[in-house]
Symmetry: C2
Subunit: 213 residues, 2 copies
């Protein structure tokens, strides 16, 4: 929540949120450039002056959408983030991500990854906002791996492993979105977690579980 939204009344915050939610949905359905402020206004069921009361321009609205989608993505995983310091917790997180995509019929990909891809080369401010959202996501994964590392249960660099896991997740989501099947996300996360698990094992000669034959 920015200082600006804190100054709003409760009703004002609700209106603002309705506008952002409508914009997020339209940008997702049509792409950033096709979603006009007039479309957003109509979809949110507010007046044009209300939209401009909360957002100076489309850029301000886009930045609010990036924050909104980041919160949505992180909120969804929040209950599992605390468990990412064990292999069982990591596998549970993997399962929930796969299950969520299955429920969506593999549509949509990653809401912030998609926005990031669209803004990366033509909107530096929005690119940094998306990158910042990803840093929060990466930090949540890293926290779990760092705890495992601190307990002496994980070899390897928890920072690198967290970043690699987020990358695998993003690539898995993109391929799952394109192929409309959960398999790419499954194998991407399995490979990542199998790799992490292999770094938790001290004495077993053969690392890897799910993909080892």
């Amino acid at each position: 929540m920015t200082s600006e939204t804190r100054r709003l009344t409760r009703k004002g915050q609700e209106t603002r949120r309705r506008i952002v939610a409508a914009a997020a949905q339209l940008m997702y359905e049509r792409g950033l450039t096709e979603a006009t402020l007039e479309d957003v206004r109509a979809a949110a069921g507010v007046s044009g002056s209300q939209v401009y009361h909360y957002f100076d321009d489309k850029q301000a609205l886009l930045l609010a959408v990036i924050e909104y989608q980041t919160e949505a993505v992180l909120d969804l995983q929040q209950p599992l983030f605390d468990k990412l310091d064990t292999m069982a917790g990591l596998r549970q997180w993997r399962d929930s991500l796969v299950e969520y995509q299955r429920r969506l019929q593999c549509r949509g990909g990653c809401p912030i990854g998609s926005l990031g891809s669209e803004v990366a080369e033509n909107n530096p401010e929005a690119r940094l906002a998306v990158a910042s959202g990803f840093l929060r996501w990466e930090a949540a994964i890293r926290q779990g791996l760092q705890a495992m590392h601190a307990r002496g249960e994980l070899r390897g660099d928890p920072e690198d492993l967290a970043l690699a896991t987020l990358a695998a997740l993003q690539g898995g989501l993109l391929l799952t979105q394109l192929q409309r099947r959960v398999k790419p996300l499954e194998v991407a996360l399995d490979a990542s977690l199998d790799h992490i698990e292999s770094l938790t094992e001290r004495d077993r000669p053969h690392a890897g579980t799910a993909s080892a034959t």
Copy 2:
């Protein structure tokens, strides 16, 4: 090359290619929807009737751009694809992908991944074209891993490992593009290849190399 392009004269093929290259560049710089046929015509230095001679509409041009970018991405890696059946070859491929992003100053991400993200939810035909390009990329990786597997040098499922490696690569490219540094691509590919390497080792107790401390 489609049956349509085979019917063109050599000069016709060159003109068509110039239009597609101009369109690819504009779609990359501005995003799909912002790149109009008029922009493409001007950038390619051809007449409007020439554009319409080769492409019925923007959709036909988009599909040609997807094929063009797929060829470009695969051509670039082609010299290394034959070497993906050894760990040394896989590491060399990783280094060349990282070096290429460094030369681009981490701009652009993956040309086909970016297109895929833009079309995935509003253009099924283009989505399938991108998915098909990714299948070719995946097949090139899989071929190397299958050879290792056939020689008894790799445990695990080469198909899953190839798909997971492509996912790690895509996610690494997206995060590298957003952060403007090669680190995400490096750690994503290192984790993937360390995992593959751990499945090649028969007797060593601790798998993993680069990320093991």
